[in-house]
């Protein structure tokens, strides 16, 4: 006699529920109870879960039906999703593969000076530039140059794409309160969903051998801060300056290009910095779905308990993170300095 029987008969739903002839055990605990001949010890009032309610009423789902339902629903939608998403996302694979090829094919004696020159151009800071040069050479010294470049190429592509999509989305959000209300929960979801969870539906949708699989996972995770901070930055632009722009008859486009974006730039740059950091974090996890780079070595370290391999790769990631962070931060402060608030 299950606890909730009375509830259903009180509601007059006994008929609807039907009688339960099914004596098959629902859980391991039930099975043990049957085998031992004892009643499983139940709390005074069992929690009204699907499984407990099912004991009293056959019509009610069991919890495993929920997870099954999600899976079946997804599988049913998969063919449609795949025909739509596959061609759209195909260019991502090409870009990722192309960048990977470019970063690997460029000989180190060209690549390293190029990276150092870029960091000098972006940061205009001597300590930062020296640090970048030293870090890359250190990675090269322990033969991690190639994997580091693979990681860097993925971060480079994913960040660029995140910025290309994120900034316009952020601008659109700043213009429309309704859009903002709709998008913010989605961004919260993307940011809080455990990173591994992204990978499961993606594996269903795309082939693991294709690079867009990890590309999409990284971009979905890393695009959030650049969207958020573009929106915030534009909304924070001094209202007096916007009013002046209106009073002098600026068109919306002029206002955006001459006032809003330049004044929001420090915030947007902070968003880009965060995006870089997050795509670097995700690129390690993405090695689970065949993303090349330092993450593969970390994974090897975990899988085979090769402590040294894991730690060296981990330190390599830290070095890359510090390089990318310092260079983008230095660029940010440089932008900030030219526009001290009045």
């Amino acid at each position: 006699m299950a606890f909730y029987d009375k509830l259903f008969s009180a509601l007059g739903l006994s008929e609807w529920c039907g009688t339960s002839d099914d004596k098959a055990p629902l859980s391991l605990a039930d099975l043990a109870a049957q085998a031992g001949g004892e009643e499983a010890s139940e709390p005074l009032i069992p929690i009204p879960s699907f499984d407990n309610l099912h004991e009293s009423c056959n019509r009610i789902w069991q919890s495993r039906d929920v997870t099954n339902g999600i899976e079946e629903g997804f599988l049913a939608a998969k063919p449609v999703l795949k025909t739509v998403l596959d061609p759209i996302t195909q260019p991502l694979s090409w870009i990722l593969d192309g960048a990977l090829w470019l970063f690997e094919a460029t000989p180190w004696f060209i690549m390293v000076p190029l990276l150092v020159a870029i960091s000098w151009y972006a940061s205009r800071s001597r300590p930062v530039t020296i640090f970048v040069a030293a870090s890359i050479m250190m990675l090269a010294l322990v033969d991690h140059y190639d994997v580091a470049m693979q990681t860097l190429s993925i971060v480079f592509v994913c960040t660029t794409i995140s910025v290309l999509f994120g900034v316009p989305i952020g601008i659109a959000m700043s213009k429309s309160d309704r859009l903002q209300k709709g998008v913010v929960p989605l961004l919260d979801l993307l940011q809080t969903l455990p990173t591994f969870v992204y990978l499961i539906p993606l594996i269903f949708l795309f082939s693991v051998t294709e690079s867009k699989l990890y590309g999409i996972a990284i971009i979905l995770y890393a695009i959030v801060p650049v969207i958020r901070l573009t929106d915030l930055g534009i909304r924070l632009v001094d209202r007096d300056v916007i009013e002046a722009a209106n009073a002098f008859g600026m068109k919306d486009r002029q206002k955006l290009m001459r006032v809003q974006l330049p004044l929001a730039l420090p915030n947007i740059m902070a968003g880009i910095n965060q995006t870089i950091m997050m795509s670097l974090a995700m690129v390690v996890i993405a090695s689970l779905v065949s993303a090349p780079g330092l993450g593969v070595n970390v994974l090897r370290g975990i899988r085979n308990l090769e402590l040294g391999v894991g730690i060296v790769a981990g330190i390599g990631i830290v070095l890359l993170a510090v390089i990318l962070d310092r260079v983008s931060k230095a660029a940010l402060t440089r932008v900030d300095k030219t526009q001290v608030k009045h």
């Binding site: 001094d238 007096d240 300056v241 009073a247 008859g249 004044l263 526009q339």
Partner: protein
């Protein structure tokens, strides 16, 4: 009289979601507080009728919350009115399309802001040239015009500085240069000098008057400072709770305040410095100048200078001249009487 440059007639602004519905109550004579209590809407402007003449400085004065900043933003429709007409140069601003309005903002009206509102990431030169570059003028023209007006407001040499590197007074000079570069017939100045310290403020007022002598723009100037209003105004409009309490020639308002609110305002100022001979003289009207006149004075001399000139002797009398023409006479006794505000004299009368 010629057509005014700007004419506001029957202008109402009610802040709130159902402003059009609440309008009839305001038109029915409901005041600001009642409207807020009974309908939850804020009455911003209440039946404003003001003509602003070309080439004059119209000063709109009122305490904070009186609706003066709301009023000035109606001229270029930064704020949309609930009802009423805004006619600029014979053209109804309310009928303008989006493009037409933008055009009017670019070509007819420029604005100077209390908080300067300069672009912090652009140099002083680019800031001053902004109105022209918005119109699509080429860079050389923008820079040339900007440099010309920057020089005119005393900022040559600072072209390549950023606004943050300048003091408040200098930033507002950039703001004025920017408005002048736009080369519009109308200039809207929203508490333009209120954020500046008193000495700099006096400087800026002098600068504005000096520029105005030359340029003859139609200037609409918002302020909460009566001294500033009296110094600048050709036409003074006093706002309270969104309606016009009194408007007219400043000297006239000073001598004939028609409302206790204005009397309060007026009682605090230095009348000797503000009042001029023309406001208190006895007009000639075909009569004779006094025989015992102690000399000739100009109609626009202040009373303060007259007191200094007479050495404080109230028995003196002077002949008043407007240029070459004799227009009236001034008795020092009259002058001393004019120095006492009307409120104070009434209070004195009650006591005796």
């Amino acid at each position: 009289m010629t057509q005014p440059m700007v004419r506001l007639s029957g202008l109402y602004k009610i802040f709130g979601a159902r402003d059009k519905d609440v309008l009839q109550h305001a038109k029915g004579g409901m005041g600001k507080e009642e409207l807020l209590a009974q309908h939850g809407h804020v009455l911003g402007l209440n039946n404003i009728n003001v003509d602003m003449q070309a080439g004059e400085i119209t000063v709109v004065m009122g305490l904070s919350g009186s609706g003066k900043s709301t009023l000035i933003r109606h001229l270029n429709r930064l704020i949309e009115p609930t009802a009423g007409e805004i006619i600029v140069q014979g053209e109804d601003v309310m009928q303008l399309s989006e493009d037409g309005l933008r055009h009017a903002r670019q070509e007819k009206m420029s604005m100077v802001f209390q908080k300067f509102a300069l672009l912090p990431h652009k140099t002083v030169l680019k800031n001053a040239g902004m109105p022209l570059s918005v119109r699509g003028e080429d860079e050389a023209t923008c820079d040339r015009e900007a440099a010309k007006w920057l020089d005119r407001v005393g900022l040559s040499g600072f072209e390549n500085h950023y606004p943050a590197q300048l003091s408040g007074g200098m930033q507002q000079r950039v703001g004025i240069a920017r408005a002048l570069t736009a080369n519009t017939p109308i200039m809207l100045m929203d508490e333009a000098f209120s954020a500046l310290d008193p000495l700099i403020r006096t400087d800026m007022q002098d600068l504005l008057l000096e520029l105005q002598k030359e340029l003859h723009k139609t200037i609409i100037f918002i302020t909460h400072d009566l001294d500033e209003a009296l110094k600048l105004a050709d036409h003074l409009v006093i706002l309270k709770d969104g309606f016009v309490v009194q408007q007219g020639e400043p000297q006239h308002i000073l001598l004939n305040p028609n409302d206790p609110y204005i009397e309060d305002f007026v009682s605090d100022i230095n009348r000797a410095r503000v009042l001029r001979v023309r406001s208190i003289m006895t007009p000639l009207d075909g009569g004779q100048v006094p025989e015992d006149a102690h000399g000739e004075v100009d109609v626009n001399d202040t009373l303060e200078s007259m007191i200094a000139r007479s050495g404080g002797d109230t028995s003196h009398a002077y002949v008043v001249k407007d240029g070459e023409k004799t227009v009236g006479s001034l008795d020092m006794t009259e002058l001393v009487r004019a120095l006492v505000p009307r409120v104070a004299s009434e209070a004195g009368a009650r006591q005796s």
